[in-house]
């Protein structure tokens, strides 16, 4: 099958895959693992796991407040992670990087602190293709403040519907919070263009880059947005750490989010003053080993080259779209061409529920996601209750795409779909 279609990637897949021991695992009945769920969580290279192990086994202590040698080492390691994140996304000031536990917490931080300045009559704009974590925090902020939530719709071909942009972006619009790459549709949104228009009406622009930062080069110094968030575990890093980048002037004027140790300046029983960013937003013992692991992950991705990873993703998506289109009864959810298409493809298979698709694929070693992928509204938009999603990363091979296509043909025959 592979030779019938062309595939060209700038990556040496064999050497990349050698860094990820899990990818050579055999699953039940001797099937090799075909991991097509990286948009859910990516696999980790040996280098990341070793960095975390070294930290715990050799340098472990709490940060900042520990005044001993190990404390200094742990602090240097944690803050080193911050430097690496700043460099990776083009932030000019390391104090613009706030560590959270995940992207959801980062978005909640944004909605909570920006929400403190909202009042009735103000408008927050999101989109119909957001992950629940970029919907619910804004719904809560609007409920608390009396502000109004509005949203961009989605076109039939899975793109952001910008036809009513002028109605959505007005002087009342205080916040525009959008995903850069849809986790369900795969759509890559024109964030920089929308940011220009949102800034023109004075809105603060928040970007959910959870599916973007792992996939292509990101430079916040030229993007024109105010806040950008992502999570470590989708970028070959560990779970338990997320990142919020914010323009320093903006962060400096935002109120605290969570209260506790390290986020304060002076605490008195009658009231407290707060530390400057990023400490203001990092209450309690932070994810130290995770910051070390994330730093190692970003080093790993940089070592390979984000431009090459982006080119590989594009090639794999193009190859996968072609293959999936040959499966009878398969309906794509989202853009059908590879232009501006991130590394996730969701689809419906006529006559077979997504859970059944995923269970049958799983018995052949193929791991996909089935359900609404925490993006129920966009499924509703397309009249679907759920879908099957295959998602790819720097280690995904065309052979794995062939296995998926063959697996889907098997699903059709198993359920006797004509």
């Amino acid at each position: 099958m592979t030779d019938a279609r062309t595939f060209s990637s700038p990556l040496d897949l064999q050497s990349v895959r050698a860094d990820f021991p899990i990818l050579s695992r055999e699953l039940a009945s001797g099937f090799p693992l075909v991991y097509l769920d990286s948009a859910n969580s990516s696999q980790k290279p040996r280098q990341v796991v070793q960095a975390i192990e070294d930290h715990y086994l050799i340098h472990n202590a709490n940060v900042a407040r520990a005044m001993h040698q190990l404390g200094a080492e742990a602090t240097a390691a944690y803050e080193g992670g911050r430097d690496k994140v700043a460099a990776f996304i083009g932030a000019t000031n390391r104090d613009e990087i706030v560590f959270t536990k995940n992207a959801s917490e980062a978005l909640n931080l944004a909605a909570h602190t920006l929400g403190a300045g909202l009042q009735p009559g103000d408008v927050v704009v999101i989109s119909e293709m957001e992950h629940h974590s970029n919907i619910v925090p804004w719904q809560l902020a609007c409920e608390r403040t009396g502000a109004t939530l509005k949203w961009f719709g989605v076109t039939e071909d899975g793109r952001l519907d910008l036809s009513n942009l002028d109605e959505l972006l007005t002087e009342q619009t205080k916040v525009v919070a959008l995903t850069w790459v849809s986790n369900a549709l795969g759509t890559i949104n024109p964030i920089a263009d929308i940011a220009v228009k949102a800034k023109a009406v004075g809105a603060t622009v928040v970007v959910d880059a959870s599916q973007a930062v792992p996939q292509f080069p990101v430079d916040v110094s030229t993007l024109g947005v105010d806040i950008l968030v992502f999570t470590g575990h989708k970028a070959v890093g560990p779970t338990g750490i997320g990142v919020l980048w914010g323009r320093y002037e903006l962060l400096a004027e935002l109120p605290p989010f969570l209260g506790g140790g390290e986020m304060i300046e002076v605490v008195r029983m009658t009231g407290s003053t707060y530390a400057p960013p990023p400490a203001r937003f990092e209450a309690g013992t932070p994810p130290i080993a995770q910051a070390v692991g994330l730093g190692a992950a970003l080093d790993y991705l940089s070592g390979i080259g984000m431009d090459k990873i982006a080119a590989h993703e594009h090639a794999i998506v193009e190859y996968a779209l072609e293959g999936l289109k040959t499966v009878k009864g398969l309906k794509l959810l989202g853009p059908a061409d590879a232009a501006d298409h991130g590394g996730a493809i969701s689809f419906e298979l006529a006559g077979v529920h997504p859970h059944d698709v995923s269970t049958v694929l799983d018995t052949r070693g193929i791991a996909v996601r089935a359900g609404h992928h925490c993006a129920r509204p966009v499924h509703e938009r397309f009249g679907m209750q759920s879908s099957t999603r295959a998602s790819f990363y720097l280690y995904t091979t065309p052979g794995e795409i062939d296995a998926l296509v063959d697996g889907l043909e098997f699903v059709r025959s198993f359920f006797k779909v004509d």
Binding site: A28, S29, H353, P354, H355, D356, T359, V360, D362, T363, A370, G371, H372, R376, H379, Q385, S386, F414, F415
Partner: protein
């Protein structure tokens, strides 16, 4: 992992032509249950006649396992005393949580024995229990309402 043990013909038959599907009147209580992690949804109506289950109808959106289990569950409880339906649920739950080590009682579970294979797919057990949880909730509410009427 044996696919045929999961997707037995009985299950696929119930999935293709579910029994008691389509919400009917009259009814005492209607509930809507979801599996938030996967999105499966069931709307279910219960009508009691004293302590007996007179009718169960449902409308569900979901996978073959959840739809077939709701269909089989309806067959098992309709016309039976509530206590017997609840006891059948306990047997079914025991089978689901048995990791394949529980011998199903066909006398009690009838077509429900076909779900024995589900116990070996931990991710799918909740699919098989969705309809049951809706029925138990609706029935408990209906009983409570009847109790309230009696005491009034």
């Amino acid at each position: 992992m044996q696919l045929d043990s999961l997707y037995q013909e009985i299950i696929l038959d119930h999935y293709r032509t579910p029994h008691h599907a389509g919400l009917a009147d009259p009814y005492d209580v209607e509930v809507h249950h979801v599996n938030p992690s996967c999105g499966d949804e069931v709307t279910l109506r219960v009508e009691l006649d004293g302590d007996t289950v007179k009718g169960v109808t449902h409308h569900s959106v979901g996978c073959s396992i959840s739809q077939a289990a709701t269909s089989v569950m309806s067959d098992l409880v309709i016309g039976k005393p509530v206590t017997e339906g609840m006891a059948t649920y306990e047997k079914f739950l025991e089978l689901m949580q048995g990791r394949g080590n529980v011998e199903p009682d066909e006398e009690v579970l009838e077509d429900g024995v076909a779900f024995a294979g589900v116990a070996q797919f931990p991710a799918r057990v909740k699919c098989a229990l969705l309809g049951w949880s809706a029925w138990r909730d609706a029935t408990a509410q209906a009983l409570a309402a009847n109790e309230g009427v009696k005491n009034a």
